[in-house]
Amino acid sequence: MQINTIKTLLLSLFLAISFFGFASDNSEDKTNEKEFNVTEMIMHHVKDAHEFHIMDWNGHAVSIPLPIILWTDSGLVTFMSSEFHHDDLGKIVVEKNGLKFVKFHEEIYFANPEAEHGSYISHDAEHHAINAKPLDFSITKLVFSMFLSVVLLILIFGFSARAYSKNGVPKGIAKFTEPLVVFIRDEVAIPNIGEKNYRKFMPFLLSLFFFIWINNMMGLIPFFPFSANLSGNIAFTFVLALITFVITTIVANKDYWKHIFWMPGVPVPMKIFLAPIEFMGIFIKPISLMIRLFANITAGHIIVLSLISLIFIFKSIWIAPVSVAFSFFISIIEVLVVAIQAYIFTMLSALYIGSAMEEHEH
């Protein structure tokens, strides 16, 4: 126990220090050009990107190019994001299949025929780009990160499954995964869905838990193949919540709909008043699932990066120990928070599914 605690502390310290390294790499370049913009740096990290930015080295961005896949009126167009040469202001035009593309604020647009102030993008009054956009199916940083997490999960659970092939005794990584699977079954599925129906939903709940958890954890690791803010992306959480919503709606029995539209044991005027509220509740539940995960993970990333940015806001090395200590502390809390968020998402999904299948006696 003692040794484990020390190991955890050392690991977290290492993580915090690497965060520090990342932030300083990022800023050295920017101070040369202009004032270090904290908001810009944080938002750049939190959002999706067409290339995997690792660090800046002597004013040059070091990044892994990722494929760009576009669907246009004249068919599929693919090229590597390195052809934009790190341009994000619509200044470099890539010509493919007779079509011209520019990248502006991490979105791909069709380029204007003429450049204006060096940029091939037209703006409206609020400085939003108004050019037409192709459909973008690119393997972005987040998509890449998701594929990586899927590969990791397949490996982990492939090995876990193989560990049981000889006799029923878990060995290797299965010793780690079995208690978690049993935990989801005994603490999440059975109490919320019920002894009778829970087996059907175990694959979904386990996938949900491990997928969210591993992506949350990968977001906390601050160096290259990880560190993408995937579970802090609203589209990602939206799809997970949508799956829960669809399952809840499909498995719902007569009693569920009755309790929403004409709940028994309530006076009629109250029924008329409550029915719309209950009806909205069907949608608000998955929406709150979506926003909870999104906001928690994004807030975690923003807090760690803001604490590191304190050094560059105060422009003093003496702030560094304080901000490293704080981000170390927050990183440890985040390890707990990401596990709790995966648990909460799974638990509430199980709860909603369970409540849709509940059988009442009246």
């Binding site: 709150s288 926003i291 909870r292 999104f294 906001a295 928690n296 807030a299 709790i340 968020q341 648990y343």
Partner: protein, 78 residues
């Protein structure tokens, strides 16, 4: 016209910061109450510690989520 100029001059970032702060107060009160009651309950029935802890964590996540909704709104409003 002058109103439009005024609106352009006013930055909403400080208000967003105030909003995030207010949300933190609310979440602080909420989580404090949950933690306090959970402690009391565990002191009365130490054998129920596991159950009380897990439901307290779930409740804290609910309270925290509301605060984080406010953070999201503050992020958007600028």
């Amino acid at each position: 016209m002058s109103l439009a100029l005024l609106q352009e001059a006013v930055s909403y970032v400080p208000f967003a910061a105030i909003g995030a702060g207010l949300a933190a107060i609310g979440a602080g009160i909420g989580i404090g109450k949950i933690g306090g009651s959970a402690m009391e309950a565990i002191a009365r029935q130490p054998e129920m510690q596991g159950k009380i802890q897990s439901s307290a964590i779930v409740l804290i996540a609910f309270v925290e989520a509301v605060a984080l909704f406010a953070v999201v709104v503050s992020l958007i409003a600028k």
